[in-house]
Symmetry: D2
Subunit: 370 residues, 4 copies
Amino acid sequence: MRLRMGMIGGGPGAFIGPIHRIAAELDREIELVAGVFSSDPDRSRAAAADYHIDPDRAYPDLDTMFAGEAARADGIDFVSIVSPNHHHLPAARAALTAGVAVMSDKPMTASLAEARALADLVATAGRPYALTYTYSGYPLVREARARIAAGAIGTVRKAVVEYSQGWLAGPAEGKQAEWRVDPARSGAGGCIGDIGVHAFQLAEFVTGLRVTRLLADLAAVVPGRALDDDCSVLLRFDNGARGVLLASQIEVGELNGLRIRVYGETGGLTWRQETPNDLTLHHIDGRTEIVRAGDASLGPDARARTRTPGGHPEGYLEAFANLYRDFAALLRGEVAPLLPDATEGLRGMAFIETAVTASRNEAGWVDLKL
Amino acid sequence: MRLRMGMIGGGPGAFIGPIHRIAAELDREIELVAGVFSSDPDRSRAAAADYHIDPDRAYPDLDTMFAGEAARADGIDFVSIVSPNHHHLPAARAALTAGVAVMSDKPMTASLAEARALADLVATAGRPYALTYTYSGYPLVREARARIAAGAIGTVRKAVVEYSQGWLAGPAEGKQAEWRVDPARSGAGGCIGDIGVHAFQLAEFVTGLRVTRLLADLAAVVPGRALDDDCSVLLRFDNGARGVLLASQIEVGELNGLRIRVYGETGGLTWRQETPNDLTLHHIDGRTEIVRAGDASLGPDARARTRTPGGHPEGYLEAFANLYRDFAALLRGEVAPLLPDATEGLRGMAFIETAVTASRNEAGWVDLKL
Amino acid sequence: MRLRMGMIGGGPGAFIGPIHRIAAELDREIELVAGVFSSDPDRSRAAAADYHIDPDRAYPDLDTMFAGEAARADGIDFVSIVSPNHHHLPAARAALTAGVAVMSDKPMTASLAEARALADLVATAGRPYALTYTYSGYPLVREARARIAAGAIGTVRKAVVEYSQGWLAGPAEGKQAEWRVDPARSGAGGCIGDIGVHAFQLAEFVTGLRVTRLLADLAAVVPGRALDDDCSVLLRFDNGARGVLLASQIEVGELNGLRIRVYGETGGLTWRQETPNDLTLHHIDGRTEIVRAGDASLGPDARARTRTPGGHPEGYLEAFANLYRDFAALLRGEVAPLLPDATEGLRGMAFIETAVTASRNEAGWVDLKL
Amino acid sequence: MRLRMGMIGGGPGAFIGPIHRIAAELDREIELVAGVFSSDPDRSRAAAADYHIDPDRAYPDLDTMFAGEAARADGIDFVSIVSPNHHHLPAARAALTAGVAVMSDKPMTASLAEARALADLVATAGRPYALTYTYSGYPLVREARARIAAGAIGTVRKAVVEYSQGWLAGPAEGKQAEWRVDPARSGAGGCIGDIGVHAFQLAEFVTGLRVTRLLADLAAVVPGRALDDDCSVLLRFDNGARGVLLASQIEVGELNGLRIRVYGETGGLTWRQETPNDLTLHHIDGRTEIVRAGDASLGPDARARTRTPGGHPEGYLEAFANLYRDFAALLRGEVAPLLPDATEGLRGMAFIETAVTASRNEAGWVDLKL
């Protein structure tokens, strides 16, 4: 029996809604059956038609959906929250209150205070809650984490993570851009909340370490922009390792240049999102290996998250689907230890707000507290 | 309303069946609802469970499926044929005879004679028939074709297409390998029929030209192998252009190295399957451009077959899904001019048999006739 | 008539001396004829033999060399200073005092105070003085600078320069490593003075801007090391542009990973030292160009510094030779506006000392003053 | 004492003469001191001035040079022959007859008959004779050969070598192009003699095998061209391995795309001239290694032919210089087993003429005989 998913957000013109739908359904363990796709009932119904779902299950608002679905024998098992950041908390709260599990787009909420409230709710709600930090779903990111955990590069000393985009180098135009540069919908972070937090989560995920301190230098480079669009952040991890996190949306020509390099006492490792199917591994003796999706040397976690033989590229949608696969396992009562949870979400929000505040105050090094 | 698909083949342990399922359903225009997944009824039912479909629609044989589905209001609209080559003709014939459209894996059949018979049947059957030459579904392959057609490199003079794999460098072990090296299931071609024909189709697809003559040198390099595993073929196209087609399955370390380079009077163009989201374009004045998925300069065909913004890699499954998208359009009565049809299928079979025969006879240059 | 070069340093086992010799002589405008290759006269003579130069011109000390050469009709025209940093000032002073021109390895001296003294001396000496900031000699670095100067990417907003090495990740062993980690020979900067200053110079050279402020975070990661081996520096340029400079010698597996990316209002540009013969250029309209050594579109400066046709890789030695070519031009009375001069040298020393001091004091943002 | 070199050819406007000069002198073991740079005495003297050599040693013809140099105590030790192909035999004969060693550009001569005559002369002359098959001088080509010889990929089964250029895609204009497309100066081979023979030599050099049979398909693609500009050649090696050799000068946008891939029973190996400082090595167990110039794992031959630490790119000139280093060793009485000798030269000429003749006659597979 497939798990039944409701969607919140993802109406006509949305980018991330259809991505979530594809990702959720890719392995056929989940089926999109209902949704509040828009706060405009007509647009919600139009989206339902686009998704080929029953028009009766295109709801005008959250309450109606949770009530309607609760009344059905085949009601939704969970919701996927894909609306802008300021909707994340009310949507998640409504779902959890209704006893419905939540898979939320990142960041967790629009502010750290909201995130704390949501984390408290999750702790008591008794229903699964997870976040789609997509990049942690890539098989070779899983492999990178597993190799570092197994000591392939020794004690981590340094991590450099960059997330480079150029699409906001000019005026922010179009549905996708507009809400991201609007504090009312995006929260206090611009670039730092949109992509910087992905880089932060990836750095913690791959190294297995926690950031404890940071020094942030954020700016709105494009004239007239209210939120940051270019971020340089220095990091310290809990084992003393040093880190650099760069995120920018004004680097003309860069598409989705997320890259991470981690160096330890005895090795180094590099992964790039735009060529996600291999991993470069350096050994202290001078050897360089390319680990490729499909290789016999891959660990069980990476192997289980690859659907095709080596050389048949898998990409963003498949990485995304890996998170939904983990989420489905969670709903079936299995464990999914690498799926980003509320604590990860809270850490992300703490990162965003700490960086924004520290940069504004030119505070130098500050602690990262939840 | 989603189109309903039945599957022939794709039972437990199959590689390509689940790929077809994902590809078919990716855009939610098609739904897998039935199948003869194996000639063993128990295995067929086991596969149905894996696919999460109704066990009543896991049929033991073709006749039962077509009869059973015809009796339902929600019966299948088409079948996807994913079994080994020697099943392609009987499966397609049964479907077309039952008035059911066919999406077939390549190559069309196990022999040229069979392909001719099937092409004749398709011509009179009045139902859509298409083939999943996957690589022609990549957005940047579509772009390459469109740019060449628009004159971006001038009259084509030369095409080099290579398909390099290494997985059969040792003894052929495992389900995927075994049938491919067995003439009874694979047909007369080994490597040439498994991957060489993909390279052939890609060369014709991208250049917009037709191969008229060829010189083939095929060999079974691995001791004891009955079918070819390494192929060098020289080509002539109908405009006089020269071509080289290399395909091998004994090139240790190569995964799925399909690459095409096309040169014209005023430019050149390169695409590689393992990094499918960009295209290199050379101009006679010395300029080199990288055309990337998501770029504003992409033509409508490539653009319509991309689901994510630039920098979010799409891969093999998405390319595959693009063929099913075209096929769904065809079933809805639209045109899908680039979807490989029976003529493409027949050309592929003619290529395989001509190459095998010419090589065996050391015939030098021979004509490619359908 | 070839210009005659004396060398200071570069004795047996030296890395950079032979490099200077090759670079200086590559275009046959310069000939190595004399030297104080070591402070040990025997070693100095041994080096002379290795270099195939007249043993009579292997001098035991600076005074003897300048006196001896002054007495010859065919005496040296200039010296190349290739000894460790703490020798740079005395060697340059001796040469300039003797009326001999100076080509010095970088950094200029072992301290900013020394650099100021030397800059003053250069200003009055009336003989050419230049520094081998090697990377500014690469043809495509010249091209990058020229294109940015010509407006190819609009007003510069952001520069990211990284210099990544791993050879000092373990204990510093061997002649090359030992002096670099010793404050007495290297000066106050370790990694920042060895490679960080190259990155600094490259960033200013390519952008055509000047760094006015910086925030530095330097550390000695390897236990027991006296000087920094890992550096993160945030920059501000005189036009308000933001910069990031990363330099490290503990990134295991990295060889000589100097990379620069510059983004402006209308474009972006990337160059990597390890693949130095091309340049990636992004345009705001989404086009990406690869500019290659040998391309017809190259400007005169890059073109004049390329010795082979496109596709015949030139590398580090040829880049180095380009600086000597410029220096030879200077000695012949021509102008060599892009050759790093005493002002560049002084800026580099100011960068090193400012970064070291600011980091030690956790001073946050500080001005860069000469 | 440096060895003294005379040059034959390399006058004003020449491409390859200055390259030979740089390569010969790079390690300071050789010095250019004399030459017949042109058959026009004025041009010969002008070249001498460009090279900064004594005008008295710019000779008007071969006889004068050999007589003049023989009369000097510091006369030339060898000549470097860098003139077009039809000069190679007379120049080499004059030198050897005068007891002067010869370093010749490739191909050996303008015809196989000439090559046989020269090989006979070399056999009896008692002076060293070698050829500058440049690409065999690259450190990582040496490493590839050494690894294959040591069994790193097992018995060789397949080699694919490609040499792709585009500079003759249009009309052949300019000094470099004109003689290459003229049978009177170039010999019977166009592209096959200019670059195909490099690919041939590289394939034999790296595999350590000998080609015994070939099937050639050569064409003059550009209208009006007398000599081939596009070549496809199938090969068989003496151990039964299969080969493919592609060479073209009409592939628009390709600069100097020489690439070789070799596959054995247990591994595979790839090298590309345009990024010459690394080598990809595949193992049958799925591991992929990148071997880089400067790595500790390099064998003695590659290591001895690298002048800079890893990450400091060396290129074409340095590879060229490695051949002169070997030649200098030979002149000093050492052995230089990998330096291409008269037998290599003869094999190259046999390859060219066999391919040209077999293609013209559409002869299919033919033996390669010296």
